[in-house]
Symmetry: C2
């Protein structure tokens, strides 16, 4: 399924739903970031997806990262909350959502790199390489927050 | 509308939806906490409610606190995320939700105390008084996290 992102755009369709989603800022002990080239928009981004009934936020992060990259992670904190009503996402099946995403900090604890149908490629990217990759501005915003100091609210 | 909360209860109805909600941990310069006795369950709790389409999380906090208590606040941080799938909430209209709530730290910047139809009473409560009030365990959990050190992830 493909998606189109609108930002403060008067031509954006009206949002029908707010669906909680998570992304994962996964950093290795060597300081490399786990990124995937997403099949829904072709750009490099963090693994993530929608919270499902029956799981908590940490569980959704662990499941999505595992599904999309093959890597097992442990959630260690929160990077930030992202709920700009001016960011509207239209999916090819007609659903239109207002952005609602929580970005979590996580560290790898096992697994092997492996792309899924949701990504063309997954790999560990050095911080120096980030500048040269095609990365959406919303992802760059989260990466910037992720590289700020660690914070530790309750995650549950 | 009344609500029934279930915790890891095999008799709980099956959750149909996850609906993002916010609560506000509002502390005055004197260290008193803004609480209301909620009309949906009769217990003391923090102001809060559901995120609406067209607003961001901070906007929802400001609106809900204003509507339920008369106080204007500014959001200053996040206390924590609460998404236990074992906590199921059944509303009297038949809707059943899985818990999904973000608790934000905020400070008063204006307004006058005033109860709404959603609360029997609102007031500033000293930390010493908290023990003697009828407060749900889920609220006590958040209050405990709120009294821990300030954290500052990105809120947006």
């Amino acid at each position: 399924m493909s998606r189109t992102d609108y930002f403060d755009d008067p031509r954006a369709p009206k949002a029908q739903r707010i669906v909680p989603a998570v992304t994962a800022f996964v950093v290795s002990a060597q300081g490399e970031l786990l990124l995937e080239r997403r099949s829904d928009n072709g750009r490099w981004g963090m693994p993530g997806g929608v919270l499902e009934i029956g799981e908590d936020l940490s569980g959704a992060v662990v499941r999505e990262v595992r599904e999309e990259t093959g890597i097992d992670v442990e959630v260690t904190g929160l990077v930030g909350t992202y709920s700009d009503p001016g960011h509207v996402i239209e999916f090819s099946d007609g659903e239109v959502r207002q952005e609602f995403s929580l970005c979590f900090r996580a560290r790898p604890v096992g697994g092997e790199l492996s792309a899924s149908t949701e990504s063309f490629e997954v790999r560990w990217v050095s911080r120096e390489e980030l500048e040269s990759l095609d990365i959406a501005p919303t992802t760059r915003l989260r990466l910037g927050h992720g590289f700020l100091n660690e914070v530790a609210p309750h995650i549950g």
